[in-house]
């Protein structure tokens, strides 16, 4: 159990989702560039 309150959990969750979306976006761009360079199928 963490010691976060519900509002703190909500606040952290929104930041976490933004960071995750950024990570996925960068990964999609990286995969697009790699596939353009040398497609693997």
């Amino acid at each position: 159990m963490s010691s976060l309150s519900e509002s703190e959990a909500k606040e952290f969750h929104s930041a976490y989702v933004m960071g995750f979306a950024g990570f996925v976006g960068i990964a999609i761009v990286a995969h697009y560039l790699l596939y353009a360079w040398k497609p693997w199928f």
Partner: protein, 63 residues
């Protein structure tokens, strides 16, 4: 979904995630470097200039 962070400590989750993602990234990069097709630093398995496997003709045998 946000109740997840009431169950698990964000500090521990972020640290674990960072270690896991970094290890995975390092593994994938080294696997790609070990292949001929996706090695972006050259072709170590293609036979470079440093090591020559060419064998010169042997001198004629003396009897």
């Amino acid at each position: 979904m946000h109740r997840f962070w009431m169950l698990f400590d964000p500090r521990q989750v972020l640290t674990g995630l960072a270690v896991a993602v970094f290890t995975l990234a390092l593994t994938i990069h080294f696997i790609l470097l070990s292949t001929d097709r996706y090695n972006w630093l050259g072709d170590p398995n293609g036979g470079g200039l440093a090591v020559s496997t060419h064998q010169e003709a042997l001198p004629p045998a003396r009897s």
